[in-house]
Symmetry: D2
Subunit: 311 residues, 4 copies
């Protein structure tokens, strides 16, 4: 299907359920997609950071996209990450995920290498020139160790290189520059500005953002859908209450002991534990070399779910 | 062939010559290998950072390994980088490069993800358990944004997980901890400690390091081979003079304008320009999205070569 | 005067006008205070980062506080930064600024040293135990290179160690954790949560923040006062419009050429140029070793003022 | 006395003994100076990072310099740190320490602020123009969060702005650029290049460095003096053995539990515990807000001393 321009609403970065031996658990993945669709989401983002894209082999990545596009069969747009170090490798992923049916690709700045902003621009121009579907920029400094400047994003938007931005930078000032800059720029139309935050969706939408890509929406899609609808209706007071409820629920990402595992392992482990406890996926395993949550840490996740009325 | 234990001497990270349209230039690659072998190097490291591994597609990576192992056919050891974000993806590269004949694999800590040291250890243990050839750790914080601790390296060496270390961290104090720790530890035998620096090979060897993996050895293999032989002979005064000559030559890595391109583009562009000017490779192109050196910047590289008597 | 608990509204970090030879320009400073008071601000924060506190000698710092407290003589609360590397040095500043009449002190985490969170907590406990006035934490990772965790801030708030937070971290998710955590915690009362951002004051207040400490309020205090009043009235639509106007005006901070000066020099130079152009201060000089704006760069600042109707 | 040009040998960054209530322990300080002088050191560096300069009040800093210059009364050169955020504040310290008899000042790049290299150059030029004694640059990125480029250091050396460099950057490649650059530059004479490392003194001297400023020399001055004499004599084999013995001893800096305190607290706590155990200083207290070593951690320090034959 054609990507809505702009894409709006809730577009969860879909977790990738795994079997105990690390293979993609296809039945769990389709159940998760059903869970999200029933929750009312507006699109699906597969192979993002919350999807453990960095941990999936090329074969597994392809299987994920095929499974999801096949399952929703055009019912809602499927965006796919094409996450790799540089242009030539990203282009291979673009080819693979679009052959598998993705409606748009989501691409970070180069990483591993030390890249000048002019090279990041060149990267996006090359990717867009060879991609059969729209390209969204994925700004995630915690992973790629550079920040996409608002000026660069707007320049590429005006050129038609970028169709949108998924902002996981946490920098709301720069995010706002993109939101208002995109609105003000005569050459920018249909550009989607999406926040990757779980915690400031209400204020991002209040600024004029188009939607959100919160990892926690795997666990509670209904909550985020309610939240964006309240925002769209201008009911900021109830939106704030819903957002604060979700902020409390988000506390689950610190369930894992920081002395024993990385912050990512704790957060992804918590999302998967929650999906398992809610009966959506068959196994809470995360990919290697992530340290799994212990039984006690999983119980903490359960308490967060119970507190939110999700068990 | 079996990897020497320890591997010693000069093991250049082999540049990957490209055609103007970004394909691997196989004839240039074999000429470069001949140039290095004639220079007297002790091994070849393909698919490292100086090889633009981060920019090569899987198909190109495979072609590089096959070309080099086929060309040297056991004449000297070929190490291959298996550079990717996490364990499952690294294992795919390990499979590919060893099928293509690599005698050892060189593996970084996970990147893109935020990884706890315990997860990095788990990563190396898993990779080693499934690799048919020895595994060397590649410590390159500028790329992966974490530093391998000396304690962790020594622990994995003592377990037999790691066969060596390529240290591109620039931290000579920590490097020394590994060198002396490996020598002192009864369970560590045949472990190779290699510096990735161009600039402190003499002092690294004086500390007891086994060898060096300097990118500049592409340009001047004879110089680095002379240097390590002088060190081995204990002729530190002449070693220092040779090292200082190479430090001056290394100034070429700043030929590219830092206002216009990344530091990596400048350095790799300079190495390739030098190889082109010296008649070793057919084309100085670097991979996308790196900004190429201008004609003037290339002329600066030429002056460095002339100053070193290499033109 | 006693610090309001919570302190709310607009509390500008007061610029420190300097003479051409780098001395505090007392008449300009009092004119600037008058300009801010007439603008309707709710308090004054002297010796903050926008005050060039890092550049002022102890004698100059003291003179600034005496001048401002003497001039407002209790008309509105005066907060003073006590910015230095560690506890003993901070305590000397606390003594000095409170002798000079400050109603509260604003204190960062230790810097220059590498400090554990437990040491940061110890730091605040010691400072508060010896300060005759309330202590606000100043979270400014760009300067001190650590982030104050929301948990730590709330723990110290509950203990009565901290009376408030000035958040210049840019991390709105963590900021929200403090806002909602402070509201929810039974032991926390009268705690002021203030954003240091120029760009997201409306959304910070929408989250429940008490006020703002925007450097740009030196230039346009009326704008920020209007903005916070619109927020307090729940008129979010007009608040957003006012905020966006101020975001546009804030573009002046990039007037200075980033190839020639630091980002701080450009921003502080722009604020002072604007105050000079508006006739508030006699001289736009910034402290050494900051590079001053050129005439052309100053003209750019003038255009921003003109565009905002402030000339 | 006039600073030797170049200053060579061992110049310990003198620890600042404190009383249990945090005051400078003058008798212990003079005993420590005697211990160092008897150890054969070539100069003393007070108010450096290992001196807890960042934790000392201005009054305490002055007392330290007066005590040490008064005690050695010209017997050997006394360098004093003038550690503060920016030029005007550094100049106040320069005045104070030179009035107190310092023979040279040691100055970092600006910190807390974000500074452009052109501003760092301006900083050193201003400080040197107003300092009655020679100025050495102190390159310590872990504290100031910028690195002094070799080009900048050499430019300022050639101008006569800088009389030397204390390099605590850990980057031996850049260090070598300064060493060889200073030797090669016709306008640079008498410039002192000193390493701040404990671990690579032998190789730094082998490169041509003039001396070392190792914090561990407080604990074992005889060892570092022996080491530099062996280096000067070209006896690299015995130098290496002595250096390795000191590297082992340096392991004491990790005595403190990293889960409980900062790395600086552990290292400074260990040095002071060692000086206390060796009977040089009366009390091992470190300044606030550093967490002190526990009795068990202190016992670990004792084992390192015993292992080195220093108890």
């Amino acid at each position: 299907m054609t990507l809505p321009a702009p894409l709006t609403g809730v577009v969860p970065p879909v977790c990738t359920p795994l079997t105990p031996d690390g293979e993609v658990d296809v039945p769990s993945l389709t159940r998760l997609v059903d869970h999200l669709v029933e929750g009312g989401v507006d699109g699906l983002f597969v192979l993002g950071s919350s999807s453990e894209s960095a941990f999936l082999t090329d074969r597994q990545r392809r299987l994920v996209v095929e499974t999801v596009t096949g399952h929703v069969s055009g019912g809602l747009p499927v965006l796919a990450g094409a996450i790799d170090m540089t242009t030539p490798r990203v282009l291979d992923h673009v080819r693979s995920v679009t052959e598998a049916g993705a409606d748009a690709v989501v691409v970070t700045a180069p990483f591993y290498t030390r890249t000048h902003p002019a090279e990041t621009a060149r990267h996006y121009r090359l990717v867009a020139s060879r991609s059969p579907v729209p390209v969204l920029a994925y700004d995630i400094p915690v992973a790629v160790h550079t920040k996409l400047g608002a000026d660069l994003v707007l320049e590429l938007a005006a050129e038609g290189v970028l169709a949108g931005l998924k902002d996981s930078s946490g920098d709301q000032g720069a995010f706002r520059d993109v939101v208002t800059g995109a609105r003000a720029h005569p050459a920018v139309t249909g550009f989607s500005v999406l926040t990757g935050s779980e915690l400031v969706v209400d204020t991002a939408l209040a600024m004029g953002a188009d939607g959100a890509v919160p990892g926690l929406a795997n666990v509670d899609p209904h909550g985020y859908v309610r939240l964006t609808r309240l925002c769209r209706a201008g009911d900021w007071e109830r939106a704030r209450a819903e957002q604060e409820r979700l902020c409390t629920l988000f506390g689950m990402v610190r369930a894992g002991d920081a002395g024993r595992m990385g912050a990512g392992s704790s957060a992804l482990g918590a999302f998967k534990a929650a999906l398992h406890l809610r009966g959506v996926i068959a196994c809470p395993a995360t990919a290697e070399p992530q340290i799994p949550l212990s039984a006690e840490e999983t119980a903490v996740v359960g308490k967060f779910l119970a507190g939110a009325g999700l068990l």
